[in-house]
């Protein structure tokens, strides 16, 4: 049952991801954004299957909700309609294909290796509910938590400086 859902959500995430960047039917950026929402939601499903319940909820609240609003605002702000078709140069295309191919080969090899001998990946030691996560965050990782507040401060200062109209 669980693996069935995993394949469902994973396939959905991959298909929506492809449709987001290379949709053959529509080149409207809003459509891409909507497929991005679907990708995020399917990823949230995968997180649930991994017992990362809090992460799944946050994924939907923050990414599928707030971040997507931002994406749509940018699309409206720039008044984008149809994305222009670009013709990539041969050299660039070649470089891209070669590096992507090499990478894909490496990944395939590691997948093949994992088939023969299942990876000894350490299974998650804590459950991904809110409480274990909170305990972990506040007993072992309070430092990154504090740094996060400073990071958010950078965001605030940056937003105000870069997008506020200059006062005359």
């Amino acid at each position: 049952m669980e693996s069935l859902f995993f394949y469902l959500f994973a396939a959905l995430a991959v298909v929506c991801g492809i449709l987001m960047v290379a949709n053959p039917f529509s080149r409207n950026p809003v459509t891409s954004a909507m497929f991005m929402v679907l990708t995020m939601i399917s990823l949230a499903g995968v997180f649930v299957l991994l017992h990362a319940y809090f992460l799944a909820a946050v994924q939907i609240l923050v990414y599928a909700g707030a971040v997507m609003v931002l994406f749509l605002f940018v699309i409206m702000l720039l008044n984008l309609k149809e994305e222009e078709k670009r013709k990539p140069g041969w050299v660039r295309m070649g470089f891209g294909l070669v590096s992507a191919g090499l990478f894909a080969a490496l990944l395939l090899r590691s997948v093949a290796a994992a088939r023969n001998a299942p990876l000894e990946t350490a299974a998650a030691t804590v459950d991904g509910g809110v409480k274990p996560l909170g305990l972990l965050l506040f007993t072992e990782y309070p430092l990154p938590f504090e740094i996060m507040s400073i990071l958010l401060l950078v965001g605030m200062v940056g937003v105000v400086v870069l997008s506020k109209k200059e006062l005359k």
């Binding site: 490496l106 990944l107 998650a124 740094i147 400073i150 990071l151 870069l162």
Partner: protein, 498 residues
């Protein structure tokens, strides 16, 4: 483990954070609407006072300890590095007084402090989660600093390019980190290393290493991840470029060295010519070779001095990588000496460029014509800094390179296989002299059409002279810094006998 302990170990960072709040607060409240000159002076003095306060704190209250078994590491080595980082920021803040490109004074100095906070956290953590958050803190602040001259198209382009490439690099780094975590189930570097030896060598590990190197390669501007550097150095406001070139470089190299020698100590490999073995050393050797070639040869064709410094920075990343490749404590010390002195040197060079740019409106080579008569002090500083970058004895740059070569040759002594990289570095070092001399020729030989003397702020003069003196001092007596670094490294990692 309680909060007081955490705060005690984080005292320098806390001082810096308080300074930051003070700078932002003062500028937004009782200084708002005042003359920009006054606001700049207040913000700069607060920034410098904060940095100096943190340095004094580290100096007079040397406290060491590990919290959360490595999430926070405070040892002599990180403390020395932090002091140098704080010095670089203080100098940058004083050089910022030369420029007047933005009405958002408090934010500009505040972001410099925020970037520095990011550097400090990068230096003092051995945990990939914390490292990533710290790196993002530094990067976000630097993106903002690069695009700070909003009205200037070049600055906007610089900021956007830096941000887009940087975002991609961060994504790679995060992916690499998550693979490392997936392979080992640990976030602490030492524990990751312990787990990697027990699992058989895995292609996924190669993917993880190459992704981590992509992310960190971007931060140190090594070829082929250097595309952002020339545009950012040229377009960004000069103090921002100076901070990116000095502080960011030092923190990133420190992080890279720790990541490689602690976290991936069991996946070293070999870059020797006839004994290639998979691992991070051959990957870094490739990056170093490419950076040396591309950086030095492209710099020959530049007419903008900031762009020239960008390509020279790429080449210097290549030299510094030799220290990481050496994979020994000697290499670590050589690397730190090199990157620290490089920070002072490049800050001096950027300071001169900032003054010349403000007075002539350009950073082309021609703008430097007649500098020796228009401002002998600036010309002298430029002379010292550029010759040190070229590696002329008895300046710091020469000994930096010398230690690097010595470290790598000693580390590779059994096979001498890595010799090809050293030969390449020495040959290209000679090439680099040519483009540095091009600038000096303009400054000392050529005549400007109208040789009015430059007016330089006393604070700028003081900082530039101090930086140049540092370069000369560490050139004449490199042992002052090297012995300190060696002692610190021994105290920091007594078990770390490479």
């Amino acid at each position: 483990m309680n909060y007081g302990e955490l705060l005690k170990l984080l005292a320098p960072e806390s001082i810096l954070a308080l300074t930051l709040l003070l700078v932002l607060g003062a500028d937004a409240t009782f200084l708002s609407g005042r003359a920009p000159g006054l606001r700049r002076a207040v913000a700069a003095s607060l920034t410098v006072a904060g940095c100096m306060g943190a340095i004094y704190w580290i100096f007079f209250f040397p406290i060491h300890g590990h919290l959360f078994s490595g999430v926070l590491v405070v040892d002599p080595l990180t403390q020395v590095t932090k002091q140098v980082l704080l010095l670089l920021t203080a100098a940058t803040a004083l050089l910022t007084l030369e420029t007047a490109f933005t009405p958002h004074v408090g934010e500009y100095f505040g972001l410099q402090l925020l970037a520095t906070l990011g550097f400090l956290f990068m230096v003092s953590s051995e945990d990939i989660l914390t490292i990533f958050v710290a790196l993002e803190l530094a990067s976000l602040s630097l993106y903002m600093l690069a695009s700070f001259a909003k009205g200037n198209l070049a600055s906007a382009e610089a900021g956007l390019k830096y941000f887009l490439y940087g975002g991609l690099a961060s994504a790679f780094l995060l992916f690499g980190f998550s693979l490392l975590y997936g392979l080992t189930g640990e976030t602490l570097l030492a524990k990751i290393a312990a787990k990697i030896t027990t699992t058989p060598r895995d292609p996924l590990l190669v993917v993880a290493i190459s992704m981590v190197l992509t992310g960190l390669g971007f931060k140190i501007a090594a070829v082929p991840f250097q595309l952002w550097a020339p545009d950012v150095y040229e377009g960004a406001p000069t103090p921002s470029a100076a901070l990116i070139a000095s502080g960011s470089k030092l923190a990133s190299f420190f992080l890279l060295e720790k990541m490689m020698t602690i976290g991936l100590s069991s996946a070293v490999g070999s870059g020797a010519f006839h004994a290639l073995a998979a691992g991070w050393v051959p990957m870094l050797a490739m990056l170093a070779g490419l950076s040396l070639i591309v950086g030095n040869l492209t710099a020959l064709a530049q007419t903008s001095v900031k762009r020239l410094l960008a390509y020279s920075a790429i080449a210097h990343a290549g030299y510094a990588l030799l220290g990481v490749i050496a994979n020994s404590s000697q290499g670590f010390v050589a690397l730190l000496f090199y990157v620290m002195t490089y920070g002072f040197t490049v800050l001096g060079a950027f300071g001169v460029v900032a003054v010349v740019e403000r007075q002539t409106g350009s950073d082309r080579l021609e703008a430097f014509a007649g500098l020796s008569r228009r401002s002998p002090v600036l010309a002298g500083v430029l002379f010292v800094c550029l010759l040190s970058l070229a590696g002329i004895p008895p300046l710091a740059g020469f000994f930096g390179k010398f230690y690097l070569f010595a470290a790598i040759l000693r580390a590779g002594a059994p096979s001498l296989g890595i010799l090809w990289l050293v030969i390449l570095a020495i040959a290209l070092s000679a090439v680099s002299l040519f483009y540095y001399l091009q600038v000096l020729k303009q400054a000392f030989v050529r005549e400007a059409p109208l040789e009015l003397p430059f007016s330089v702020k006393p604070s700028t003069q003081l900082v530039l002279i101090l930086l140049a003196l540092c370069v000369i001092l560490f050139g004449c007596a490199p042992d002052l810094l090297v012995s300190k670094l060696l002692l610190a490294l021994k105290a920091a990692a007594p078990g770390l006998v490479f």
